[in-house]
C-alpha cells in the first residue's frame, strides 16, 4: 500500500479531534493540558506532511513545526507553573471547581 498525503492528514485530523474532545470532556486540568498538546502535534503532523509532499520540496512547513515545538515548550512551562500554583492555592485541579469567573 502506498502511503500518501491523505493518510497523514486523516491521522492528523483524528489526533486533533481526539485532542479537542479531551479538552472538552476531561475534568482534570493536567489531562486537558495533555489534550491540548495532542492538538498542537496534530497540527505539526499536518504541516510536516504538507512539507514532505509539496512539489517544490520546500522546507517551510518543517521549519514552522520547530517553531511550534519551541513555543509549545515555553507554553507548557508557563501553563504547568500556573496549574501548580492553582493547585497549591485551591487544593484541586478539576475544572468544575474552578468556576469563580461566574458571578
Amino acid at each position: 500500500m502506498n502511503v500518501g498525503l491523505e493518510h497523514y492528514l486523516v491521522v492528523s485530523v483524528l489526533l486533533f479531534c481526539l485532542g479537542l474532545l479531551g479538552v472538552i470532556v476531561r475534568r482534570n486540568l493536567l489531562v486537558i493540558y495533555m489534550s491540548l498538546e495532542l492538538m498542537l502535534n496534530a497540527a505539526n503532523l499536518a504541516l510536516v506532511a504538507f512539507s514532505r509532499f509539496s512539489d517544490t520540496n520546500s522546507l517551510d512547513g518543517q521549519v514552522f513545526v520547530f517553531f511550534i515545538i519551541t513555543v509549545a515548550a515555553a507554553e507548557v512551562s508557563v501553563g504547568l507553573a500556573l496549574i501548580v500554583a492553582l493547585y497549591r492555592r485551591r487544593q484541586t485541579a478539576h475544572v468544575e471547581d474552578l468556576t469563580t469567573l461566574k458571578l
Binding site: V23, I24, E96, T99, K102, L103
Partner: protein, 632 residues
C-alpha cells in the same frame, strides 16, 4: 452728570437694598431697616429731583438693547427685539413719584409697626423688592419687561402676604394671591403674544405708532387681544371673578396691606390698562365695554360685602376692591385720565387708612374686630383724625381729594353709560355707609373691650407718616394731578382751573348735576350710618336683612363656590395626573424599561457558566461554524 441716570438709580436702589440685606445684613436689624428705608427715601428724592429738572414731558424712552432674535429682513418674519428700558412720560413719572412716595411713608411706618418682629430684616428686604418690582412695572417701556416685573410683583406679594408663614392662614393666603393672579397672567401672556404676532414688536411706542397709522391692524382680534390683556389686570387688580385673593391678603402685616392696596400690586392692573389704553380703545373693539361692566360689577359687589364685614382690615380690603372697580370702570368708559387720577388719590387715602388701621391694631394688641373696639377717639387722637381725613376722602366729601377723582369717574360714566353711572352713585352711597359704620363702631361710642380701654397713641415713627398722608389725602385733588394725566391722555374733560378757587369748585361748574348728586349720595350714606350705628352696641343689620346679611358676611359664598367648582375640578385633574404619572409614566414607562432590561440581563447571564470547558466547547463550535461557512 447725565440726567437719564437718575431714573435708573430710582429703579435699582430698592433692589440693591433688598440684595444687600439678604446677603450681608440679615442679622443686623437696625442696619437692614435703615438701608431699606434709606434706599426708598433716596429713590423718592431722586424722583423729585429728576422731575423738577427734567419736567414732565415730552415722552421719551431711555433704554439699552437686551436681546435680538432673528433678522428684521428675514422672509419668515420671525424677529424679536427686546429692550430693557424706561418709558418716561407724565404717566410713568407721576406713578414713579407716587410709588416711591407712598412706599417711603410705609417703610418708615414699618420701622415702628414691625419693631417687635423676629423677621425684621427679611421683612424690609421683601418690602424693598416689592417697591423695586412695582417701579419696574411703572417704568417699563415694553410688554416683556412689564411682564417680568409683573411676575416679580406677584412673587414679592407672595413673600409678604405669607410673611408670617408659620401661621397656616398666612401661608395659604400667600399661595392664593400668587396662584389667583397667575391665572390672570396666563391670559395676559397670551395677549402679549397676540400683540407681538400682529405688530412684530413689544415696544409700547412702536405699537402705538403702528396702531395710529392703521387702527384696524388687529382686525378681528382686537376684542380678543384687549380682553386677554385685561385678564392680567383682572388678576392683579382683583376684579371679579378673580377678586377672591385680595381680602385674604389681609393675613400679611398691615403695612404690607397698605402697600399692596395703595401704590403697588393692585394699582399695577389699572396702571397697565392705562399704559396700553391705545390697544383697548380701538374702533370696533368691544373690550372696553366688558372692562367697564366688570369694573362696575366689582365695585358694587365688594361695596355690598364691605357693609357686613367686622374685621377692620377686611372692610378696608373690600373698600379697595370697590374703588379698584371704579377705576377699571373708568378705563372701560374711555376715561384713563379719571382712572389714574382716582388711582393717585386712592393711593394716598387708602395707604393712610391702612396705616391708621395698623396703628389701631397695634394699640389693641392685634385685635381686628371692630366690635371689640369703640371709644378710640380720645385714646388715639392722631390716628382718629387722620383716619377721619382718609374716610372723608374715600367717601368723596368736597373738598377732599376723593371727591374730585370720584366725580371725574362719575362724570365720565354719566356721559357714556347711564346704568353704570347709577351703579357708581349707588356705590358712592354704600362707600360712605360702610366707612362711617367703621368710624362709629371703632372710634366713637363706648369701649367694648378691655383692650380698647388700655389703648394708647402710636409712637411718632408711626404717627408722622399718617399725618403726611392725611395732608395729601385732603389736598390730593387740587395739586394738578388730573391736569398731568390730561397731558398723557387727551381726555374729554379736564378742568383747567385758572385759579385755586376756580379749581376748588371746578366739578360743580363742569357737571353740576353729577357733582351735586354725588355729594347727596355721600350725605345719604352718612345719614344711614348715623341712624344705624351712632349708639349701636351690636350690629342691627343682621336682624333686619336676615339671609342677605349672612350672605354678605360670607362674601356671597364666592370662596365656597370656587372651592366646590374650580378647586374640586382642579383636585380631580390633579388626581388624574397623579394616576397617570404613577401608573403610566413611572409604572409603565420607567419601571417597564427598567424591568425589561433587567430581565434580558438575567437571561443572558445564564449563558455565562464560568466553566472553562463550556467556553472551550462554544469556541470550538464557533470555529467549526466559521470553517463551514468559509469552506462551503
Amino acid at each position: 452728570m447725565n440726567l437719564d441716570l437718575l431714573p435708573w438709580a430710582v429703579l435699582f436702589l430698592p433692589l440693591l437694598a433688598a440684595a444687600f440685606i439678604t446677603l450681608f445684613t440679615q442679622h443686623n436689624r437696625k442696619l437692614s431697616a435703615g438701608l431699606s428705608i434709606g434706599a426708598v427715601v433716596m429713590s423718592f428724592v431722586l424722583s423729585l429731583i429728576f422731575v423738577s429738572v427734567n419736567g414732565w414731558g415730552p415722552a421719551r424712552d431711555v433704554f439699552v438693547s437686551w436681546l435680538t432674535i432673528g433678522d428684521p429682513q428675514a422672509a419668515s418674519g420671525l424677529y424679536l427685539q427686546v429692550d430693557f428700558g424706561l418709558r418716561l412720560d407724565p404717566l410713568s413719572l407721576l406713578m414713579m413719584l407716587l410709588v416711591t412716595g407712598v412706599a417711603s411713608a410705609i417703610h418708615i411706618y414699618s420701622w415702628g409697626y414691625m419693631s417687635e418682629d423676629r423677621g425684621f430684616p427679611r421683612y424690609f428686604a421683601c418690602l424693598s423688592l416689592f417697591t423695586f418690582s412695582m417701579l419696574g412695572i411703572v417704568l417699563a417701556n415694553n410688554f416683556l419687561e412689564l411682564f417680568i416685573f409683573w411676575e416679580l410683583v406677584g412673587v414679592s406679594s407672595y413673600l409678604l402676604i405669607g410673611f408670617w408663614f408659620e401661621r397656616p392662614a398666612a401661608a395659604d393666603a400667600g399661595k392664593k394671591a400668587f396662584i389667583t393672579t397667575r391665572l390672570g397672567d396666563f391670559g395676559f401672556l397670551l395677549g402679549i403674544l397676540t400683540v407681538w404676532a400682529t405688530f412684530g414688536s413689544l415696544k409700547f411706542e412702536l405699537i402705538e405708532k403702528a396702531l395710529t397709522a392703521n387702527p384696524q391692524a388687529l382686525g378681528a382680534l382686537a376684542t380678543t387681544a384687549g380682553l386677554l390683556i385685561f385678564c392680567g389686570a383682572m388678576g392683579k387688580s382683583a376684579q371679579f371673578p378673580l377678586h377672591v385673593w385680595l381680602p385674604d391678603a389681609m393675613e400679611g402685616p398691615t403695612p404690607v396691606s397698605a402697600l399692596i392696596h395703595a401704590a403697588t400690586m393692585v394699582a399695577a392692573g389699572v396702571y397697565m390698562l392705562c399704559r396700553v389704553f391705545f390697544l383697548l380703545d380701538i374702533p370696533g373693539s368691544h373690550a372696553l365695554e366688558v372692562v367697564a361692566w366688570i369694573g362696575g360689577f366689582t365695585a358694587l359687589l365688594s361695596a355690598v360685602i364691605a357693609i357686613q364685614q367686622n374685621d377692620i382690615k377686611r372692610i378696608l380690603a373690600y373698600s379697595t376692591l370697590s374703588q379698584l372697580g371704579y377705576m377699571v370702570m373708568a378705563v372701560g368708559l374711555h376715561g384713563p385720565a379719571p382712572a389714574m387720577f382716582h388711582l393717585t388719590t386712592h393711593a394716598f387715602f387708602k395707604a393712610l387708612l391702612f396705616l391708621g388701621a395698623g396703628s389701631v391694631i397695634v394699640a389693641l394688641h392685634h385685635e381686628q374686630d371692630i366690635w371689640k373696639m369703640g371709644g378710640l377717639r380720645r385714646k388715639m387722637p392722631v390716628t382718629f383724625w387722620t383716619f377721619m381725613a382718609g374716610t372723608l376722602a374715600l367717601a368723596g366729601l368736597w373738598p377732599f381729594s376723593g371727591f374730585y377723582s370720584k366725580d371725574g369717574i362719575l362724570a365720565q360714566a354719566a356721559e357714556h353709560s347711564l346704568p353704570l353711572y347709577l351703579l357708581g352713585t349707588a356705590v358712592a352711597a354704600l362707600t360712605t355707609f360702610y366707612m362711617f359704620r367703621l368710624i362709629f363702631v371703632a372710634f366713637l361710642g363706648a369701649q367694648r373691650s378691655d383692650a380698647a380701654g388700655h389703648a394708647h397713641e402710636s409712637p411718632p415713627v408711626m404717627a408722622w407718616p399718617l399725618r403726611l398722608l392725611a395732608v395729601f389725602s385732603v389736598i390730593g385733588g387740587l395739586i394738578g394731578v388730573e391736569q398731568l394725566y390730561g397731558k398723557q391722555f387727551p381726555a374729554e374733560h379736564i378742568e383747567q382751573g385758572a385759579s385755586f378757587i376756580r379749581e376748588l369748585v371746578a366739578p360743580f361748574i363742569h357737571a353740576p348735576g353729577v357733582a351735586t348728586f354725588g355729594l347727596l349720595m355721600v350725605f345719604l350714606g352718612f345719614a344711614a350710618a348715623w341712624a344705624l350705628y351712632r349708639n349701636a352696641t351690636s350690629d342691627p343689620l343682621p336682624e333686619k336683612l336676615g339671609a342677605l346679611s349672612r350672605a354678605m358676611r360670607n362674601r356671597f359664598y364666592f370662596d365656597e363656590l370656587y372651592e366646590a367648582t374650580v378647586i374640586r375640578l382642579h383636585d380631580f385633574l390633579a388626581a388624574v395626573a397623579d394616576w397617570f404619572d404613577r401608573w403610566i409614566i413611572a409604572g409603565f414607562a420607567v419601571r417597564g424599561t427598567h424591568g425589561t432590561t433587567e430581565l434580558a440581563g438575567r437571561a443572558l447571564r445564564l449563558l455565562q457558566t464560568g466553566n472553562l470547558q463550556t467556553y472551550a466547547f462554544l469556541f470550538a463550535l464557533g470555529v467549526a461554524l466559521v470553517l463551514y461557512l468559509v469552506l462551503k
